[in-house]
């Protein structure tokens, strides 16, 4: 373990600082609240000569991701960041990045979608990209924002994986909030990531191996190439586990693809991701003081979905309250509940699932309200209700 350098940083600053230490070859980004500080800070570093990154100021997020695709195809290490509407504008190119198997890293400052216009935290923007064949991580705090920036490069650039990675931190409550961040020395970050990524021979523009990228592939080969992506996704699961174990060793912070909190003897549990998971843990502490047997599960790696880990963690628990800070409409369950239900279906000793859409557009769900969520799920479970979904924390 390496002695950390303690700093006070907001989530965005932590991402920018990690990016500075990584010193990527190319950054192409367009500012959007609440991601702005990442871009601002990093352009300061470029201006001050602290990094030798090529910074491409683009005119939109669509262009930002397009520039990243081009840069990454040459074998460069590429980073970008966006939020909400920006991510939606990138959506088309997200599939190009993953289809061309380019390990771009994207920081998402999770923010609600318009309309009505809203700049505050909500994870819907990242959730709607979960089928884009991007590895998807969620961060709870500025510390995790820092760590996941570094780990994302290592996961995506693994020659077995070669997929782009996005990680989300919630707008304002993480991106703009100052927290204690234990940073690593520059040298350690450089050693952890290695000099440059391994470049598979025919997968990169260079004068010695000319090739065609993103060519027209119709019925004949398209499905084989998509299946390659799925197999890479499955490998990404193991690679992420290894990278997190390796990172835990050097940083001294325990990283796992899911985080279990007081789950061993729990009868009831919360399942959440991102900053909400921190609140859930605080509520678990409060409920434990009252003698309730309750625990919390945080999903850090959302794609590839860690099915077996989650099943092992939730086996034997009676009921689960899913705190889902993302919106879905007319769906049989909330977004996280959908995946969880699919992961647990047909297995033995599985809990009943109760999904709660909360915290949209930065709405705060106070700790006593989360306690009510717990009481509600408990009641539902005792009434024998199997799969319920509900909205919480809004006025009738």
């Amino acid at each position: 373990m390496i002695e950390p350098i303690v700093k006070g940083m907001t989530g965005d600053e932590a991402v920018a600082w990690a990016a500075k230490q990584i010193n990527p070859d190319v950054i192409a980004a367009y500012p959007i609240t609440p991601q702005t500080i990442i871009v601002e800070r990093f352009s300061d570093y470029v201006n001050d000569g602290l990094v030798d990154t090529s910074y491409i100021p683009v005119e939109s997020e669509h262009s930002a991701m397009s520039a990243c695709v081009g840069a990454s195809a040459t074998g460069a290490r590429v980073f970008t960041a966006t939020a909400s509407a920006g991510l939606a504008l990138m959506y088309e190119i997200l599939y190009v990045a993953s289809g061309m198997r380019l390990p771009i890293v994207l920081a998402v400052a999770n923010r609600a979608f318009s309309a009505p216009i809203n700049i505050h935290g909500e994870c819907t923007d990242q959730m709607v990209c979960r089928d884009a064949s991007w590895i998807s991580l969620f961060g709870e705090s500025a510390q995790e924002a820092y760590d996941e920036t570094i780990m994302s490069f290592k996961i995506g650039e693994n020659p077995e994986v070669m997929l782009p990675t996005m990680f989300g931190i919630e707008g304002f409550i993480v991106t703009h909030a100052l927290e204690r961040v234990d940073t690593l020395p520059d040298k350690t970050v450089k050693e952890f990531l290695g000099d440059r990524r391994v470049i598979p021979a025919c997968c990169t523009f260079n004068p010695f191996a000319v090739g065609t990228f993103g060519s027209l592939v119709l019925q004949d080969n398209y499905m084989e190439l998509k299946r390659q992506q799925e197999e890479a996704m499955q490998k990404a699961y193991h690679v992420t586990k290894n990278v997190m174990a390796e990172f835990s060793e050097i940083s001294g912070r325990d990283y796992e693809i899911i985080e279990k909190y007081n789950l061993e003897d729990a009868d009831y549990a919360f399942v959440s991701y991102g900053a909400t998971a921190g609140n859930a843990k605080a509520v678990v502490d409060r409920l434990r003081e009252k003698g309730e047997k309750v625990g919390s599960l945080k999903i850090r790696l959302y794609r590839p979905y860690p099915v077996s880990d989650i099943y092992e963690a939730l086996k034997g628990i009676k009921a689960v309250s899913i705190l889902d800070r993302s919106a879905t409409f007319g769906s049989p369950a909330t977004i996280a509940q959908n995946d969880l239900a699919a992961a647990l279906y047909g297995k033995k000793d599985v809990p009943t699932l109760h999904g709660y859409i909360n915290g949209l557009g930065g709405r705060v769900l106070l700790l006593p309200e989360i306690e009510q969520v717990y009481e509600q799920s408990k009641k539902y479970h005792e009434e024998g209700k199997a799969l319920t979904q509900d909205w919480i924390g809004y006025r009738r």
């Binding site: 289809g99 061309m100 198997r101 380019l102 070669m162 598979p200 025919c202 997968c203 191996a209 000319v210 090739g211 065609t212 990228f213 993103g214 060519s215 592939v217 080969n221 084989e224 190439l225 299946r227 390659q228 197999e231 890479a232």
Partner: protein, 112 residues
């Protein structure tokens, strides 16, 4: 004109119908694979280059979208020549020739 052939390993890719395990990741197509697609018989018209008039300015060489124009050395002078195996007959070279050395003539497929 030099012989254009697909590299042997890429020929196998087509013949053996490679699957997920063998196809290059990301659908990156290796170089020279396009030699296999002889699209020359798609065309309704063909360019015929008058090598006497050709000044070797390279305009047609650069503008040809199928890289069907090749420069040949004839008596110490470089002149353009069209490889009809790959020419789709778009006529761009005709438009770009500054000395009107290229004639665009109709081809009749059915009389082949």
């Amino acid at each position: 004109m030099k012989k254009k052939e697909i590299p042997l390993d890429i020929q196998k890719w087509h013949i053996n119908k490679w699957g997920t395990e063998k196809l290059p990741i990301g659908g990156a197509v290796p170089f020279h694979s396009s030699y296999g697609y002889k699209t020359g018989n798609w065309s309704a018209r063909k360019p015929f280059i008058d090598q006497e008039k050709c000044t070797g300015c390279l305009n047609c060489f650069y503008y040809c979208p199928d890289s069907a124009i090749e420069m040949q050395e004839i008596e110490g002078k470089y002149v353009a020549e069209c490889d009809f195996n790959y020419c789709k007959g778009c006529g761009i070279c005709v438009q770009h020739c500054p000395v009107n050395a290229i004639e665009w003539t109709k081809v009749r497929w059915h009389t082949k």
